[in-house]
Symmetry: C2
Subunit: 412 residues, 2 copies
C-alpha cells in the first residue's frame, strides 16, 4: 500500500482556528460543556463536517457525529474516530480537539482520494469529556456506551447550578437520536500524550494498549493539636508529620517494586493550620494508578497496611474514604499492532504505552474494539495554555490514523 | 519562716468568676483585647483591686496595675507580679488570668496578715498579650519595657479594622500614666505550663529559668505541576513530597542530636491542590525553638542546608521568608532558686524548665530581674476550652509565689 498523507495545512490550521473559539478578553481559552463557548466550537465543527459532505447527527446527550456512508456500505458497522472538543478552564488547544479534527481530516483525505470504504467512517465529538462543569468526566461517551442512562445524565447539575439537559437544549445540541445508535466496528482515538514519556524518549507515536486503573481515596489523620513551643518532640501526635510519611512511603515502595504504578498526593489540608500549633488534623487525597488490576489492588493493600502502621507509630487516628475506583482498560491488540505497523512503515519511532489519563476511548472500549494513538506533548504539559505538540508530530499522528483506518476499513 | 497560704477558695472562685465574663450564647469564652468583653473583664479586676484597698493605675497602653504601697516603702522599686486577662477565641479560663488573680491573692494575703513589706508590691495585667486581635502579641508588656513606642502601639490596626488606641478609649482603659512608670525591682509571673511536661512527670512546680528563642520561617517550594496519571514517578518534580521531607528531617535531626529544640510545621498549602495534579507548589511554615541561641542558630543552618539538598535532589526551587525571630531569654537565677527553695520547703516536686511559649515575662525581663512559675496543664492543652489545671496545683503555685514574694520583698 503506498503511503498517503493528510492535508497538513488544513489539519494544523483547523486546530489553531478551533483554538481561537472561546477565548476571553485576556486570551484564556475555556469551552466548558454546554456553554456558549461550547456552542461556538460545536457550530464550527458541524460546519466543517457539512463542508466535507458528511451527514451530521447529534444524539440526546449532545454527542456530535459526522458520518461518511453511502448506499454501498450503510449496512455495515462503522469505523468510529473521535475525541472531544470541550476544554478545561484556561486550556491548551490540542487536548481532544486534535483527535476530532484529525478524524475529520482522515475522512476528507480518503474521500478526496476517491476511496470507496467497505464500512462507514464516522467522526465523533463526545459531550463533557473534561468533567469540569458537569460530573462525571467522559460523560458523553459513558452514556453512548450504555454506562449511564440518558435521563440521569441530562439531569446532571453543574458546578454553576445549570442542568446539562437544559444547557444542551439552550445551545441547540439536544439531539434526538439515541446514544449508541451506531455500534462501531472499531473505535480509534488520536490524542496528545499529556505526559512526558514520548518527548523524552524522542518517540513519535505511542501505540496505547491499555489505560490505567485509578484508585482515589481521601485520608484523614487525626492527631492532637498542641502548642508548638511547649510540647517536646517526643510527646507529639503530629497529624502533619504522619501525613508526610504517606507520600514518601508510596514513592519509595513504587521505586523498590519497579512497577509502572504512580501515586500522587495532590491535595493537603492541615487543621488548625496555625504556625505555632501542632497539626491536629491532616486531610489529603491519594491518587493511585496502575495498568494492571492485581497490582493496583496490591498497592491499595500496601497503603492500607502502612496507614495502620503509622497510626500506631505516630499515635494518630486514620480514616479513609474511597472517592473513585476504575479498573484498568485493555485495548484491542489488533488495532495496537496496526498502529505499530503504520509507524514502522513510515519510519516513525513508536512504543507501546499505557494511558495514565482517562479518555472517551475507555468508555467506547465497552462496546467496540478500541485503541488510542498518542503523540508527544512538550514537557508533558496539558490542561494549560502551554500545552504544545509540534506540527510534525501532529501530522505524523494523523497519517498513522489514516493508515490504520484505511487498513481496517477495506475498500469495495 | 513559717508556711502561710493564700485563700484557696477566693483564688479558685475568682478564676471561675472571671472565666464566666465574655462568654457568648453558645458558652464560648472570648475576651479579645480592647473589646467589650475585655472591658467587662478589666472592670471586674479593677473592682477586686479596689476591694483589696490597692491603688489603681492604668497606663497609656491600657496596662492595669494594682499598687500596694505606703508612705514607708513608696520610694522603693516594687516587686511586680502579673500576667494578662485578654484571651484567645474560644479560650480556657486559666491562661494569663491565673497569674493576675494569684498575684492579687498574694498581695491580699500579705496585707491581711499585717505584713509590712519593704517595697511596694504591684499586680499587673498587660494589654493584648494574646495578639489575636492586634499584632504583635505581648504588646502591652513590650511597650511597658520600652520595646515599642506608645504612639506606634496605639495606632495598631486590628484584624477587624479597629484601632487599638480608639478601642482602649472606647472601653475606658486609655490611661494617662506613661508605660514603664514603675521600674520593677523584680517581676514574677505565675502561669499554667500550656504543655504536658509537668503533668506527665507528676511535677507540681516548674521553676522557669529561660524562655525559648523562636525562629519562624515561611518556605515556598516550586516544583512542576503535571498529570498524576501520565507522569512516571521518576520524571516528577513534586513540591508536596519535597515539603514532606522537611518536617520528617527536622524531627529525625532533633532526635539524633538529643537537643531540647522543637520544630513544627503547622501550616501547609498545596497548589493547585487538585487530586489528579502533582503539586507545583507547597507553602509551609517552620517554627523552630530552642532555649539556647547558638543551638537555635545551628538548627536554622541545618534547615537551610537541607533545603539546598532537597532542592537539588527533588528538582525544585526553594525560597525562604523570615517571619519572626526572637532570641532566647534567660531569667534571673536568684528568683529561680527562690522558687525551687519554696517548692522544696513545701514538699512540692519541682524542676527547672524552659518556657516554650512567649509570655509578658520575656518583655519585662528587659527591664527587671524576672522569672516564671509554671503549674501543670492537663494533657498540655491550652488556648482551648479544655484547658484545665487542678485546684490543688493552682493553690500550690500561688503559695510558692507567696513565699518567693515574701522572701524577696523583706519586711520593715
Amino acid at each position: 500500500m503506498p503511503l498517503h498523507s493528510i492535508d497538513a495545512a488544513r489539519l494544523t490550521g483547523r486546530i489553531r482556528e478551533l483554538g481561537e473559539i472561546g477565548r476571553d478578553p485576556q486570551g484564556q481559552l475555556t469551552r466548558l460543556a454546554g456553554s456558549d463557548n461550547d456552542r461556538a466550537g460545536r457550530d464550527r465543527l458541524v460546519a466543517w463536517i457539512k463542508m466535507a459532505g458528511l451527514d451530521v447527527a447529534v444524539d440526546r446527550i449532545g454527542n456530535v457525529f459526522g458520518i461518511w456512508r453511502d448506499t454501498g456500505n450503510s449496512g455495515e458497522a462503522p469505523i468510529m474516530l473521535g475525541s472531544h472538543i470541550d476544554t478545561v478552564i484556561n486550556a491548551g488547544i490540542y487536548d481532544g480537539c486534535y483527535g476530532v479534527i484529525a478524524a475529520l481530516e482522515v475522512i476528507e483525505t480518503l474521500k478526496e482520494r476517491g476511496v470507496t470504504p467497505a464500512r462507514p467512517i464516522v467522526v465523533a465529538a463526545f459531550t463533557n469529556e473534561e468533567g469540569v462543569r458537569f460530573a462525571p468526566d467522559m460523560l458523553g461517551s459513558l452514556v453512548y456506551a450504555g454506562g449511564l442512562s440518558v435521563e440521569t445524565a441530562l439531569a446532571t447539575v453543574g458546578t454553576d447550578g445549570a442542568v446539562l439537559g437544559e444547557e444542551l437544549a439552550r445551545i441547540g445540541y439536544a439531539g434526538t437520536v439515541e446514544p449508541g445508535f451506531l455500534k462501531p466496528h472499531a473505535y480509534i482515538e488520536l490524542h496528545i500524550e499529556q505526559g512526558p514519556v514520548l518527548e523524552r524518549e524522542g518517540t513519535a507515536i505511542g501505540a496505547v494498549e491499555n489505560l490505567q486503573g485509578i484508585s482515589w481515596q481521601r485520608v484523614t489523620i487525626d492527631g492532637v493539636a498542641n502548642h508548638a513551643g511547649t510540647t517536646p518532640m517526643a510527646m507529639r501526635c503530629d497529624a502533619g508529620l504522619a501525613a508526610a510519611r504517606v507520600g514518601l512511603f508510596l514513592r519509595e515502595h513504587i521505586a523498590r517494586s519497579n512497577a509502572l504504578s504512580v501515586a500522587t498526593i495532590g491535595t493537603m489540608c492541615f487543621e488548625p493550620d496555625a504556625i505555632n500549633v501542632i497539626p491536629s488534623r491532616a486531610v489529603f487525597t491519594v491518587d493511585l494508578r496502575d495498568p494492571d488490576e492485581d497490582r493496583l489492588q496490591a498497592l491499595e493493600t500496601v497503603l492500607a497496611d502502612f496507614l495502620v502502621r503509622i497510626g500506631e507509630e505516630e499515635g494518630v487516628e486514620i480514616s479513609v474514604e474511597r472517592l473513585a475506583r476504575f479498573q484498568p482498560v485493555a485495548f484491542d491488540q489488533g488495532i495496537v499492532a496496526a498502529i505499530e505497523a503504520s509507524a514502522h512503515a513510515r519510519g516513525l519511532k513508536s512504543r507501546r504505552m499505557t494511558s495514565g489519563a482517562g479518555h472517551d476511548a475507555q468508555m467506547i472500549a465497552r462496546i467496540a474494539p478500541t485503541a488510542m494513538i498518542f503523540v508527544p506533548s512538550r514537557d508533558g504539559i496539558s490542561h494549560n495554555p502551554r500545552e504544545h505538540t509540534d506540527p510534525d508530530d501532529l501530522i505524523a499522528g494523523a497519517d498513522v490514523l489514516l493508515d490504520v483506518v484505511e487498513r481496517m476499513v477495506g475498500s469495495r
